[in-house]
Amino acid sequence: MGVIVPLVSVSAFWALIGFGGPWLVPKGVNRGIIQTMIVLTAVCCWMFWILVYLHQLNPLIGPQISVKTIRWMAEKWGNAPGVDTHYSTTSSP
């Protein structure tokens, strides 16, 4: 999925709750409070999510991992494009 898909879907989800939720609150003494709570929840939760998302959009550093774990990652999660998976006996780093 691209950058856009999670961005739009999660924002749409919280927007639905934040803008649509207040209309669904039944009339009563506590209507104002419940509406405030719904809107504030949507705003806080969305803001928290988007801050974490944006920070990871363009990471400036990468993880430092032990070689053993990298082996495991290579098996389980696959390799980046352009990685040579053959063992050549002549090269040395």
């Binding site: 999925m1 898909v5 928290f48 959009l57 990468g62």
Partner: protein, 861 residues
């Protein structure tokens, strides 16, 4: 608006009550709990008020109730609990209650007196019996001979007081035999503790001519009364000559020893014993009947004591309230002044009407509103959910009358800030479930009327805790932290960028050096940039990384700053609501707008920079805003950038000399390229922002006081709005206004800077929590899992897990939870509320029976 955005409208009302119906009306108002009465007889002391006698009667009744309760407790019976929602008793019920209590008290006192007398008689009988039985033993064992011997030795001036072990001198035997038949004796009972002194004293006073023998006995305490000694001893004193008898008797009196005359003759002793035995049995049955009667009385009272004490409490409080009313000249009418919520005036009127009908009076009470310049008390209509959050706000200060209340926002922002600092989904689940338990058994726990303060603190905050737990689960999933482990739901966006050959070489090298070697991925190519970041929260690869903090720390710091500045911005907007409500355009234009400009030009600018850096700067070289950006080593440092902005430091434009892309030549980069200007027009823009921010400070400081001074000179009355700068006579004092404005300005300007940094505690605490969690995993759970395979492993994991669980709950959930709670509280009280909150109001304290009873029970403070 909703119910607790501002405090309720209050009105000061005067109530005219007829004296006949006054009691009933006040009782109804007490049940309603919506009126706060003012003391109209403030200068009268307690003895000058009208209903002094009634209060005295109530005090008497309370004393009697306390006595009855003591008696119930003495019998180790439980005082039955009563329903605290009973109706207040009518005045005629009061006399009934008084008579009832008097009767019960009298009965109990007489029973107690009788029991004492019975116990005394019983003791005497038992002692007599013990004496007879012991004397038989003592006389039979040849004590008489020993006595005679000892006394004659003493008469000859030899030997000590009691030497039982010496062999008798058989030469003197016959002579002493003759003397023994002449010996007299006295028997009695003395307390065991005085026994030794008694003997010594006798020996000294009678020069050894009195022989003492003692036997320990124990007298049972049948009535359970206190102060009944049971450890006694029977003594028998042998002496010759009647003269010594009176001396001995006096000594016994002095030592509080009872003398019981025991007949010397065996037959007489036997018949006396039989007599005493029958007497003892009779006494036993009388005693039992008395105790049974007492038990019945006490049991009956025990069932009603609580109910009676609630009734007396209500009666007494009604009379206290009636004492606060003033009486008009005709003595027929009582006048009361009370604060009540304007919206509830009809309910109060109904209550008064009900009271008048109940007392059978025909004259309706009159309720009319009074004009007043006094500040009304602050009243919020709360339910069990909002009560917890309002208490949090009130602990700092009660809201001013009709100012914006922080509580409705606190309902969500407080648990949210807590969760930012607590951020572990696993611990969040535990917290959530605990609070859920409290809520499910809410009714039962309230009915149990627990008085323990710590439990009540946690139970009272159950709604706060459940929200804190729920938000912690949310932030925990975003931080990807479940007991320090991450989950991989959507697939990590980081993959291995190293060729297998190189990997193999590194592995070999690591094996030969016996080290675990690391490799640091570069985002290009390890990060799947086109596909975008991990969609929900922190990528799980970071849990495997040794440099995880290098990534998470900047994330949490930037997040804290952004959240903090949003909250402060919101706080300043709330102050606008207050200014608009007070219709003070002066405040809006010359206080609110400069504050906004100051906040925005510096801190919102910082937030925008953070977001732009996130969006545009990556590891690949490209043109950004027209400048060639070579790579991540030139990513602009925002913190130093802000400092340079303030110091107006001159910086180079762009990252690279000549602004030409060069992929390999690092010498072309500017020195410290991460400290230079990075967007076109930055120098000019920053100068303007700085100028605006700096200029807004004198505006905040000077305009309002000077304007008010000019208005005052022109003769226009200053409304004040908050009473500052006006002393008691309402005079306008320029010095005070100036000082207040200066304090306010400095607080805001310095506060903006220091509070922004203060929000970094969101980062600090979440880091501490994550690290503690990791320690517990590494040192305990991990060790338990890898201890050994097989059965030993199973046992060890059990042990390790229990330690892990106990430490998790006590350190991570309780201690860290309390810590995060405290810091979230501080952030609200200082950083958020200082932007708009006054908090110098008075709380509304209505006359309410429920509140009084709860106070008396110790359920509320």
């Amino acid at each position: 608006m909703g119910t607790i955005f501002r405090s309720e409208w209050m009105s000061l009302c005067q109530v005219f009550l007829q004296t006949d119906s006054a009691y009933a009306c006040v009782a109804e108002l007490g049940e309603l709990g919506l009126a706060q009465f003012r003391d109209l007889n403030g200068d009268a002391n307690n003895y000058q008020r009208k209903f002094v006698n009634e209060i005295r009667r109530c005090d008497e009744m309370e004393r009697k109730l306390r006595f009855i309760e003591e008696e119930v407790v003495k019998d180790s019976l439980e005082v039955d609990d009563a329903n605290m929602y009973i109706k207040a008793p009518q005045p005629k019920e009061m006399t009934e209650l008084e008579a009832n209590l008097e009767k019960v008290e009298e009965e109990l006192i007489s029973i107690n007196a009788n029991t004492k007398v019975l116990q005394k008689n019983f003791t005497q009988l038992m002692e007599m019996r013990a004496v007879i039985e012991s004397v038989k033993v003592l006389l039979d064992s040849g004590s008489r001979m020993h006595a005679a011997q000892s006394i004659s030795e003493a008469a000859r001036g030899e030997a000590g007081p009691i030497q039982v072990g010496i062999t008798p001198n058989f030469d003197q035997y016959d002579k002493e035999n003759r003397e023994s038949t002449e010996l007299k004796f006295v028997t009695g009972v003395i307390q065991r503790s005085k026994g030794a002194t008694f003997e010594r004293f006798l020996w000294r006073m009678c020069r050894g001519k009195v022989f003492v023998r003692m036997m320990d006995i124990s007298i049972p305490n049948v009535t359970g009364l206190a102060d009944v000694p049971t450890e006694k001893a029977v003594f028998i004193l042998f002496f010759s000559g009647e003269a010594l008898r009176s001396r001995v008797k006096r000594i016994c009196q002095g030592f509080h020893a009872e003398i019981y005359n025991c007949p010397d003759n065996v037959v007489e002793r036997a018949s006396l014993l039989v007599q005493i035995n029958t007497q003892v049995e009779d006494m036993q049955s009388v005693l039992n009947k008395t105790l049974e009667h007492r038990r019945r009385v006490v049991l009956a009272s025990g069932m009603n004591v609580k109910l009676w004490s609630f009734k007396v409490l209500k009666i007494k409080s009604i009379f206290h309230t009636l004492n606060m009313f003033s009486i008009d000249v005709t003595q027929k009418c009582l006048i009361a002044e009370c604060w009540m919520p304007t919206a509830d005036m009809s309910m109060v009127m109904d209550a008064l009407r009900r009271g008048t009908e109940m007392s059978g009076s025909t004259v309706m009470p009159v309720l009319n509103e009074m004009e007043t310049h006094e500040t009304p008390p602050t009243y919020f209509k709360l339910n069990k959910f909002t009560l917890g959050f309002q208490n949090i706000v009130d602990a700092y200060g009660i809201a001013n009358y009709r100012e914006v209340n922080p509580a409705p926002w606190t309902i969500i922002s407080f648990p949210f800030l807590f969760a930012c600092m607590f951020g572990d989904a696993g611990h969040g689940i535990v917290m959530f479930l605990t609070a859920l338990l409290f809520l499910i058994f809410e009714k039962k726990i309230i009915a149990a009327k627990i008085k323990d303060e710590i439990f009540n603190t946690f139970f009272g905050g159950r709604y706060v805790i459940i929200l804190m737990g729920a938000f912690s689960i949310y932030t925990g999933t975003l931080y990807n932290d479940f007991y320090s482990k991450s989950v991989n739901i959507f697939g990590s966006k980081w993959t291995n960028p190293i060729n297998y050959t190189d990997l193999a070489v590194w592995e070999v090298r690591g094996a030969t050096q016996d080290q675990d070697l690391d490799f640091t991925f570069s985002p290009n190519p390890a990060f799947d940039h086109d596909s975008g970041p991990y969609p929900w929260g922190v990528d799980p690869v970071w849990n495997l990384a040794k440099n995880k903090l290098n990534f998470l720390n900047p994330m949490k710091m930037k997040m804290s700053i952004c959240i903090g500045i949003s909250q402060m911005f919101f706080g300043v907007m709330l102050s606008l609501l207050n200014h608009v409500y007070n219709r003070s355009w002066l405040d809006v234009i010359f206080v609110f707008i400069p504050q906004m400009l100051f906040l925005c030009c510096i801190f919102v600018y910082l937030c925008i920079q953070v977001i732009i850096k996130w969006l545009f700067f990556y590891v690949d070289g490209k043109f950004i805003f027209g400048n060639w950006y070579p790579g991540s080593n030139c990513a602009p440092s925002l913190l130093i950038g802000l400092i340079s902005m303030f110091m107006m430091k001159s910086r180079d434009d762009g990252f690279v000399k000549g602004n030409v892309p060069n992929y390999d030549d690092e010498t072309q980069q500017f020195d410290q390229c991460y400290l230079q200007l990075w967007y076109p027009g930055q120098a000019m823009a920053e100068q303007i922002l700085l100028a605006v921010a700096v200029l807004s400070i004198p505006v905040m400081l000077l305009v309002k006081p000077i304007y008010q001074l000019m208005q005052h000179k022109r003769g226009v009355p200053i409304s004040g709005g908050h009473g500052h700068g006006e002393d008691d006579t309402g005079e306008f004092n320029f010095g005070d206004v100036m000082v207040y404005q200066a304090i306010h300005t400095i607080e805001f300007a310095l506060g903006c800077v220091s509070h922004t940094a203060s929000y970094l505690r969101l980062w600090a605490l979440s880091l501490a929590h994550a690290q503690l969690s990791e320690v517990l995993w590494d040192m305990l759970f991990h060790m338990g899992l890898t201890f050994s395979t097989g059965y030993l492993g199973a046992v060890m994991i059990f042990i390790f897990f229990s330690i892990f669980a106990v430490l998790s709950v006590s350190i991570l959930i309780l201690m860290e939870g309390l810590s995060a709670f405290l810091h979230a509280l501080r952030l609200h009280w200082v950083e958020f509320q200082s932007k708009f909150y006054g908090g110098t109001g008075i709380a509304f304290e209505p006359f309410s029976f429920i509140k009084l009873i709860r106070l008396a029970e110790g359920l509320d403070q």
